[in-house]
Amino acid sequence: MQDMGEALAVAMTLVLSGDGDLVEIVGLSLRVSLTATVAACAIGLPIGALVATNRFPGRGAVLVVMNALMGLPPVVVGLIVYLHLSRAGPLGFLGLLYTPAAMIIAQTILIAPIVAALSRQVIEDMHAEYADHFSSLCLTTRQTVQALLWDARYALLTVALAGFGRAVAEVGAVMIVGGNIDHLTRVMTTAIALETSKGDLPLALGLGIVLMILALGVNALVHSLRLTAVRQAYA
C-alpha cells in the first residue's frame, strides 16, 4: 500500500504545482466529456420523453433495447466510430479521426442511451402522476413532453451527471478514436493508461485521484446551482 501514499503525494504535488501539461489534459477531458454530455442530452432527453409518454406497438422491445444499450462497451463504440471516421471509412473525408471531435462523437454515442433510458424512467413515473391532469387540459404531445421535461429537470440533472460520469471515466473509446496524442487528444483516462503501461503506478494513481477530484468538482458545482435554483423558486 506504499503506492497509495506515494500516489496521494503525487496528486497533491500535481494539483498544487498547476503543471501546464496537466491543466491542458484536464481541460480537454472536461471539454470533451461536457460537450458529449450536452449532445447526449439533446438526443437522449427527447427520445426518453417520447417513449415515456407514448404507447405504441413494440414499445416493450424498445425499452429492453434502450436499457441494454446502457451497457454498450466503450471499446466497441470506439471501434465502430473508428471504422466510420477512418480515412478508409465512409466519413473519412471529414478528417475527424484523432481529433477531439471524434472523441466527442464516441462519448456521445456511449452515453446517449444512458440519458434516454434513465430519463424515460424518470419521466414515465412523473407522467403517471400527471396523466389525468394533462388529458383534462387536452395538451398536445409536444406540450406534454415540454411540461414533463421542465418539471423533472432536477431529476434529469442527475441523469445528465450519470452520463457525464460514464463519459469522463471511460478510456476504451477515446483511446481508439483519439489516439492519446500528446497536446492534441490526451485526456485524463488515456494519460492514466499510458503511465500504467510505463510502470509509473504512483503517477497513474495520482492522475486518477485528480480525475476523481475533477468529477467531484463538477458534481458539487451542479449541486450548488440546483440549490440556488430551488431557493429562488421558493423565495
Binding site: H84, R87, G92, L94, G95, T99, G179, I181, S197, G199
Partner: protein, 269 residues
C-alpha cells in the same frame, strides 16, 4: 445526412477540429513512445523544420493496420517482414532501417527455470518450458509478439499447447504485459528500451541477453500517396529524411535513460 450535421456541429464547438495541414501523424510502436524517445526527438525536429509531429503509439500490428486505412503519414515499427509486405502491397513509399536495440528476457530474482546468465535464447526458452515456469506473452500481434513467436518456432516447444497453463497470453501492450508478468512472477520477453525506462520493476532482472537472434530492428516508412491521397507527402518525407540524416541519427544516439543508450542508429549511408 444527420451524422454529418452532428459532426459539423461538434466540429464548430470544439476547435481545433482537424489537425493542421502542416502536421504529420506517425503510427508508431509503443516502445519508442513509452521510453520517451519521441519527447527527445520531436522538439529537435520541430525546431529544424517547423513541422508538428503527432504520435499514435500502438502495437506494431495495429499501427500497420491503421496505416493501411490511411490513418497516418509515417509508419515507425519493428517487424521487418510485415513492413516489407506493407511496402510491397503499395501502402508504403519505401522502407529504411532506422535504428536497433535488442530483446531481453526478464524474470523474478528467484529464477525458477534457472535461465540467468544464458546468452542463447533457444535453450533458455526450452528450460522455461521444461520447468513449466510461467511465461507472459504479449499475444497481440505486435512486433515483439511476432518476434517471440518466431523464437519459440526455432525451439522444440510449441507454447500454444500450454496457453492458459504456464504460457499466459495477455493480449495487451508491453507495459501492461510487464505489469501482469511481474504480478504473477512470470518470465517476460521485452525490448530493452521499454525495460530500462519501465518504473515498476520490483525484484525483476534481465536474465537472458546477448543472443544475435534477439536483435531488434526498427524501420521507418512514409505512407504512399498512391494508396492514400490524404497523406501529407512532404511532411512525411521530411520526417523520414530527417530521422535518417546525420542530425537525426545523432539525436537518436544521444537519447539516454539512467545513463544507458536505448536505441542505436543504423540508417544506411
Amino acid at each position: 445526412m444527420k451524422p454529418l450535421r452532428l459532426a459539423a456541429l461538434l466540429c464548430a464547438v470544439s476547435l481545433p477540429c482537424a489537425a493542421l495541414a502542416d502536421d504529420i501523424l506517425v503510427q508508431s510502436t509503443t516502445s519508442t513512445a513509452n521510453s520517451g524517445l519521441y519527447d527527445h526527438l520531436l522538439p529537435i525536429f520541430a525546431e529544424a523544420t517547423g513541422i508538428q509531429v503527432n504520435v499514435v503509439a500502438v502495437g506494431t500490428g495495429q499501427a500497420i493496420r491503421n496505416a493501411r486505412n490511411c490513418d497516418g503519414d509515417v509508419l515507425l515499427v519493428h517487424a521487418k517482414p510485415a513492413e516489407e509486405k506493407f511496402v510491397a502491397d503499395g501502402f508504403g513509399a519505401s522502407r529504411t532501417d532506422l535504428m536497433y536495440n535488442d530483446f531481453i528476457i526478464v524474470g523474478p530474482a528467484a529464477d525458477p527455470a534457472a535461465v540467468a546468465g544464458l546468452d542463447d535464447i533457444q535453450p533458455a526458452l526450452e528450460k522455461i518450458a521444461a520447468a513449466q515456469a510461467l511465461f507472459a506473452s504479449r499475444g497481440d500481434d505486435s512486433g515483439t509478439h511476432k518476434k517471440e513467436v518466431s523464437l519459440w518456432a526455432s525451439t522444440s516447444v510449441d507454447p500454444a499447447t500450454a496457453s492458459g497453463d504456464w504460457y499466459r497470453e495477455t493480449g495487451s501492450g508491453m507495459g501492461a504485459t510487464l505489469n501482469a508478468g511481474i504480478g504473477m512472477g512470470a518470465y517476460v520477453m521485452t525490448d530493452r528500451a521499454t525495460w530500462i525506462s519501465f518504473k515498476n520493476k520490483q525484484d525483476y532482472k534481465i536474465l537472458v541477453e546477448g543472443d544475435a537472434d534477439l536483435f531488434n530492428q526498427y524501420g521507418v516508412i512514409p505512407v504512399s500517396a498512391k494508396k492514400c491521397p490524404s497523406v501529407n507527402v512532404e511532411g512525411a518525407q521530411a520526417f523520414a529524411d530527417w530521422l535518417l540524416s546525420d542530425a537525426g541519427q545523432a539525436a537518436i544516439a544521444d537519447y539516454e535513460v539512467d545513463g544507458q543508450q536505448l536505441f542505436f542508429p543504423n540508417a544506411p549511408d
